[in-house]
């Protein structure tokens, strides 16, 4: 991992480029090395003239220690393998090195050259390998550095020249040139390299917010991407992650956003809200007070059930333990009274296995669940829900694939979510529901959820199975 900082002395500027070494407080004729927890940092000057001086910060990371040491691994997952890009790409490790090795330069205080330290200097920063991981196709380099006045020269790095069909890698080499105070430039790198890389390697302490404020002083306040920078810079702090995820989950139904879920449909109510409301209405209409929300995800429906005293006993199940953790957080289960904890419970369970613990409830809700199962496993779900648990009422919602033409962002024949194993037409859903109802002595009726288009129907379809109407 390498960063170079070049100071040019334009004709007539009166700047001696060699003074860069004074600002950095590193001797220009020596190769200095610094032992850091992650490896060894070297500072040296590949060129050093009055016209142009370049300082290089080279970080030689110890790849074995990085993976083996619990201190670095954290729970990011990236260091689960010896093969990773940490030794090569600019990342939070670079920030650590800058913070340790060039700390005094970052303060902007220079006992010998304060005037130079206070001056905006013609600087060139070179980063041979920058990752923009997690950019979701949007390259953040310009968005982050351009508003700060840098001119950007960016060269994408090919993934593998032997397989040109793979296209570019997530890395590029970046040259930033502009006029800026050295301390500001260093602090910008310090904050923005981890933001670009988006995978912090170490445990972020409580003072991290404060650190961000300090290093961002003078440039972050008015940065148009300030929110993104803050979010990403802090993203690996656990409580903040939980908070962020709770926010995400509140905007989401099955732990996965589908088109229309947050977009406004015909009314001002987002589809996910309409869907949950429709399920709640159906449950009340059928007098179901003891509810199982099967495949509850992070708890979107559970929170509504919890808030309504009509529902006396609630169980949320999910096959993903992660989703249940999120649901438990969203429901604030650990802060609830004994009575509330008795009223609402979460179980790790799978819809394709029979689960006796779910017997004797009024209703089982399968809201946006069946489409996450392979078609061949549906009979197992039917057998466990309708056959074994056999509640009085079963409510099933699932996307209506016919409606997909209404989503301009969705490719032809594409499904709404990458984990959907299928999406049914109205006829397919009704055929399945009728057969299921017939086999298990239920009656069934169908409802639309969301804007009902005369040609393609509603975005979500719902079936209400009931024993009374059999």
């Amino acid at each position: 991992m390498l960063v170079t900082i070049t100071l040019d002395s334009p004709v007539g500027s009166g700047i001696n480029a060699m003074d860069l070494s004074h600002l950095l407080r590193k001797h220009p004729a020596k190769v200095q090395n610094f032992e850091l927890p992650v490896g060894t940092a070297y500072v040296f000057y590949p060129e050093c003239t009055e016209q142009r001086t370049t300082a290089a910060l080279l970080l030689q990371i110890d790849p074995i220690n990085l993976v083996r040491s619990k201190r670095f691994r954290g729970n990011s997952g990236i260091l689960d393998y010896y093969v990773n890009d940490r030794p090569y790409a600019a990342s939070s490790l670079t920030s650590v090195a800058i913070g340790k090795v060039l700390r005094s330069a970052m303060t902007g205080i220079s006992p010998s050259h304060q005037e130079l330290a206070d001056a905006r200097l013609p600087l060139t920063l070179k980063l041979p390998v920058v990752s923009s991981r997690g950019g979701h196709g949007v390259d953040l380099v310009s968005a982050l550095f351009e508003p700060l006045g840098w001119t950007i020269e960016q060269q994408a790095i090919e993934l593998d020249e032997e397989f040109p069909q793979w296209g570019d890698s997530q890395y590029s080499s970046v040259v930033l040139s502009g006029v800026e105070r050295l301390d500001v430039a260093l602090r910008q790198l310090y904050v923005l390299l981890p933001v670009l890389d988006d995978s912090k390697h170490y445990w972020v302490g409580d003072d991290e917010t404060e650190k961000l404020a300090r290093q961002g002083e003078g440039w972050l306040e008015n940065h148009p991407e300030r929110d993104l920078i803050t979010q990403r810079y802090l993203v690996h702090q656990k409580s903040l992650v939980a908070m962020a995820e709770a926010q995400i989950s509140s905007a989401d139904s099955a732990g996965s956003q589908q088109p229309g879920d947050s977009a406004e449909t015909s009314s001002v109510v987002p589809l996910r809200v309409e869907r949950a409301q429709a399920v709640l209405n159906a449950l009340k209409e059928y007098g179901a007070q003891r509810i199982v929300d099967m495949g509850c995800g992070p708890g979107a429906l559970l929170r509504r059930l919890q808030a309504d005293p009509y529902f006396t006993s609630i169980i949320g199940t999910d096959v993903s333990a992660r989703s249940l953790e999120q649901a438990a957080a969203a429901l604030h289960l650990d802060e609830r009274s004994d009575a509330q904890q008795e009223r609402i419970k979460l179980l790790h369970s799978s819809a394709v296995y029979q689960d006796e613990r779910l017997n004797n409830f009024d209703a089982i809700v399968l809201m946006e669940v069946i489409e996450h199962l392979d078609g061949s496993r549906l009979p197992a779900l039917v057998s466990s829900v309708f056959g074994a648990n056999s509640p009085r009422v079963v409510v099933v919602t699932t996307p209506n694939v016919e409606y997909n033409v209404k989503y301009p962002g969705l490719d032809h024949h594409a499904l709404r979510h990458e984990d959907h194993r299928f999406e049914w037409t109205r006829a397919e859903f009704e055929a399945w529901a009728q057969e299921t109802a017939g086999e298990h002595s239920y009656g069934v009726q169908f409802r639309t959820i969301g804007a009902n288009d005369p040609q393609v129907g509603s975005p979500t379809q719902m079936a209400i199975f009931s024993k009374e109407q059999a």
Binding site: L2, Y45, N65, Y81, V83, Y88, S131, S169, E356
Partner: protein, 840 residues
């Protein structure tokens, strides 16, 4: 001297006032853990044995512990005064809940003795008034206790009797665990004497006749014993004849029998109770009246003596007329008898107006095989280790017997239809008896997965929870997922300079385990794959035309439906062409192998991980080399640093070359088979690898577009030459870009001095290992640390997974219920999963 008989499974109440000597009596006759003393429980919950204010809590705790013991089938003695009816009733409830008998031992000693002993108790003294009250209550209890539900009440009313009493523990009437067979278990006869005689003849029994030439006994020359599942009588032509023969066989020891509901009703009718003479009982009563008074008495005694169920063969076989759930096996209570004789009904009635029977076999998870009758079926089939032997002989079906332990069905056709069934005969495969249903209980940890001959593997709750999502959402259908392969351990780290793995260590491992010959197989650069090929989809509960499945080591399908079908069809043709179906006498088989190219499954891994690291490492090291060269040009002393970064740059390029070899044409799928895992009723873990490689070769010759051969060489470990040749072979293989090799014991499954031997050890090539350990792993300072890796844990896990996988195959081959197979397969996945805390 009085001998007190007690059933060896059950609850015993000691009854007597304080000071009557209960505790010392208990200490003399029972083991320490068998006695639950109320005083002791007062101490446990309240720190004071005499504190009466904690009695309620103490008894709750005592009853809880008693319940756990009874659940486990342990004799349990309650040492409390038990002089109040309410106290006894509460304990009797505990016994009923666990379907065990309750006995009482009453110590009715003179009250002065209680007073005397009480005086010696010191601090633990009871107020004398309390003793008086208890004594009175005891006297009252002696009269009422007869009606409280005790199986036996022993009253000891003198000191001498108490001193001389001894305890005799007896087996329960249903306990025939010491009888190991072999047995011929015979279904509902219903008065069909001719068919019974035909069946017994077919089973090899020899008959004895009475003076009137009636068959009166039948004995098997090899000592086999017949077991009748009840319903000997009614509906058919000769109930008396059947009873005469069966009674003779039971008397002579040639047969055992349990009661059916028809015998139960017959006894009541014979004893003059008011019974509806329906379902053929009227004919039976007529036949008995004509047979004479002596036979009538014998029949009454015989039928009245029939017990509800039999537990045979060390608990591995249970006989009950209507079947029996695991919880009731070997127990004695009214509801056990009711279940065994009449079965359970759901409360609903079917379209014929008959009660719908509770399909207990569908949920049966017991380890004992249960043979039963009661419900006429179209055929005999094993459902979850249970089988109904009633094939409706009296309705014109068959009279069936199950040979045990052979598990062969022997049947004779009915000579005619003697009665009209109330509803058509059910198929054992009907939806009511679906055996493919899996339940959360099957996969919720902690699990103790017992194998038939390779020990028990424990799966923690966390491990099981960790596999639930993968199995539910990503794995192929459990009905088709019959096996998952074990992880493979690498060789121990090599100490040779420049090597992390080397054949020496793998070969040395096997030599140390006492293996004399190994096979070295080329390790293909693909993904571990399991291929199930089937010509009989019904065996796998799959739709018609289904050909099998191809899945990864975590149970995921490799291909979409169409591509999978095409590949499997090709594989089928290859198996056809080799004549393997006939040779293995099978309709299905499971192959273990490697699917190539690796990029089929791993392309995103290659792109996102390997190629990304390749791109960033090449670019970063190249830029660094340039900057350092510039610095050197400027006169800085950077030569060591420059040399090191140059080396890193070469390593980065070598790393790229390593992963590039794995990128293949995804349209060109190849399967390298290396083992036949199972087929029909067989598994092949004890066939040597030469045999397996031979089959792989034939498949490759039959269908070279799909199957490819694996290069291999065998090594006698005592031959230095052969060992050296194997090392050279590995060097060549890996220098040519090969991944490496796998060393396996030639004889396949083998046990060493300290347990099962690793089924295979991989020795990977130097270059290949870059994509595991990083571009710079061979740098001496890195290699030194990487050598310190613990292979022990991985090896223990590999063995556990191997055992579970083999057991899954064996269970499949034996046609065992799906839930058992699934538990084993699930266990393998659980051991491979990141543990998750299942409690929330």
């Amino acid at each position: 001297m009085s001998e007190l008989q007690l059933p060896e499974v059950g609850l015993v109440l000691l009854v007597g006032a304080s000071g009557s000597g209960k505790s010392s009596f208990a200490a003399r006759h029972f083991e320490a853990f068998e006695v639950l003393s109320s005083d002791y429980f007062r101490g446990l919950v309240g720190n004071d044995e005499t504190d009466q204010s904690v009695s309620k809590a103490a008894f709750e705790a005592l009853e809880f512990v008693a319940g756990k013991r009874l659940e486990a089938g342990l004799l349990t003695v309650v040492d409390a005064t038990n002089v109040q009816q309410s106290a006894r009733q509460s304990l009797i409830e505990v016994a009923r809940k666990h379907d065990v008998l309750v006995s009482a031992i009453v110590l009715d000693v003179p009250i002065r003795l209680c007073f005397e002993r009480n005086e010696q108790r010191g601090r633990r003294r009871v107020p004398p008034g309390a003793i008086e009250r208890q004594h009175k209550e005891l006297k009252r209890s002696l009269k009422s206790m007869r009606r409280e539900g005790f199986a036996r009440i022993h009253v000891l009313d003198t000191e001498e009797q108490i001193a001389q009493a001894s305890i005799l523990r007896h087996k329960l009437l249903n306990d025939f665990r010491d009888q190991t067979g072999p047995f011929d278990v015979i279904g509902d006869v219903h008065g069909c004497l001719d068919e019974l005689v035909m069946l017994l003849e077919k089973l090899g029994y020899r008959f004895e006749y009475d003076a009137e030439k009636n068959p009166a006994n039948a004995v098997h020359p090899q000592g086999r014993r017949a077991v009748f599942v009840g319903d000997l009588v009614d509906r058919g032509p000769d109930s008396v004849g059947v009873l005469r023969l069966v009674m003779g066989m039971v008397r002579s020891g040639a047969a055992l029998a349990v009661s059916g509901n028809h015998e139960d009703k017959l006894v009541r009718a014979l004893r003059g109770r008011n019974v509806n003479l329906t379902h053929g009982l009227d004919q039976t009563m007529d036949q008995i009246q004509q047979a004479g008074a002596q036979l009538k008495r014998d029949i009454t005694d015989f039928c009245a003596s029939l017990i509800s169920h039999l537990v045979l063969d060390e608990g591995k076989l249970v006989i009950a007329h209507a079947g029996l759930i695991e919880k009731y096996q070997g127990r004695a209570s009214k509801r056990v008898r009711a279940f065994a004789l009449y079965g359970q009904v759901t409360g609903e009635v079917d379209e014929f107006g008959l009660p719908v029977r509770y399909p207990w076999a569908k949920d049966y998870r017991g380890s004992a095989a249960v043979l039963f009758g009661h419900t006429p079926m179209t055929e005999v089939a094993w459902i979850n280790n249970t089988a109904c032997l009633d094939t409706g002989c009296v309705f014109g079906g068959q009279l069936s017997a199950m040979r045990y332990p052979e598990r062969e069905v022997v049947a004779v056709d009915a000579l005619q239809q003697y009665a009209e069934p109330g509803r058509p005969l059910e198929s054992p495969f009907g939806p009511q008896r679906e055996s493919g249903v899996l339940s959360m209980e099957d996969v919720t940890g902690p699990l103790r997965l017992k194998t038939s001959s390779m020990g028990t593997v424990k799966i923690s709750a966390e491990q099981a929870a960790g596999a639930l999502e993968t199995m539910s959402r990503f794995a192929t259908d459990p009905r088709w997922l019959r096996y998952l392969p074990p992880t493979m351990s690498p060789a121990e780290s090599s100490q040779r300079p420049g090597y992390l793995e080397h054949p020496d260590e793998a070969l040395a491992y096997y030599k140390k385990q006492g293996v004399s010959k190994v096979i070295c197989e080329q390790k293909h650069m693909g993904s571990r794959a399991v291929m199930l090929l089937a010509r009989n989809p019904e065996r796998f509960d799959a739709p018609e035309g289904w050909l099998g499945t191809l899945h990864t080591r975590t149970g995921r399908e490799f291909l979409d439906h169409g591509a999978e079908r095409e590949l499997l069809a090709q594989a089928h043709r290859a198996v056809d062409a080799c004549g393997l179906w006939q040779e293995l006498d099978t309709d299905w088989l499971i192959l273990d192998g490697e699917l190539l190219p690796w990029s089929l499954k791993a392309e995103s891994l290659i792109k996102d991980s390997y190629a990304s690291v390749g791109a960033s490492s090449v670019a970063a090291t190249q830029a660094t080399v340039q900057v350092l060269e510039q610095a050197a040009g400027a006169g800085l002393e950077v030569s060591a640093l420059l040399a090191s970064v140059q080396e890193q740059h070469r390593n980065a390029r070598a790393f790229r070359d390593s992963y590039r070899r794995y990128v293949g044409d995804k349209e060109q799928l190849r399967f390298a088979a290396f083992q036949v895992l199972a087929a029909q009723e067989k598994t092949f873990e004890s066939k040597d690898h030469g045999w397996h490689m031979g089959i792989a070769q034939r498949l490759a010759e039959a269908a070279p577009k799909l199957f490819i051969q694996t290069e291999w060489t065998s090594v006698e470990l005592d031959s230095e030459e052969q060992v050296q040749a194997a090392v050279d072979w590995w060097e060549q293989l890996t220098q040519a870009g090969g991944e490496g090799m796998v060393v396996k014991p030639w004889g396949n499954l083998q046990r060493g001095a300290k347990g099962w031997i690793q089924p295979g050890i991989k020795v990977r090539g130097r270059e290949y290992l870059r994509i595991i350990y990083g571009p710079d792993y061979l740098e001496p300072q890195n290699l030194k640390r990487l050598r310190q890796r613990a292979t022990d844990k991985k090896r223990a896990r590999a063995i556990h997974e191997y055992i579970l996988g083999l057991e899954a195959l064996r269970l499949s081959a034996q046609g065992e219920p799906l839930w058992k197979i699934h538990q084993m397969v699930f266990g393998v996945l659980a051991l491979e999963s990141e543990p998750i805390d299942p409690r929330l």
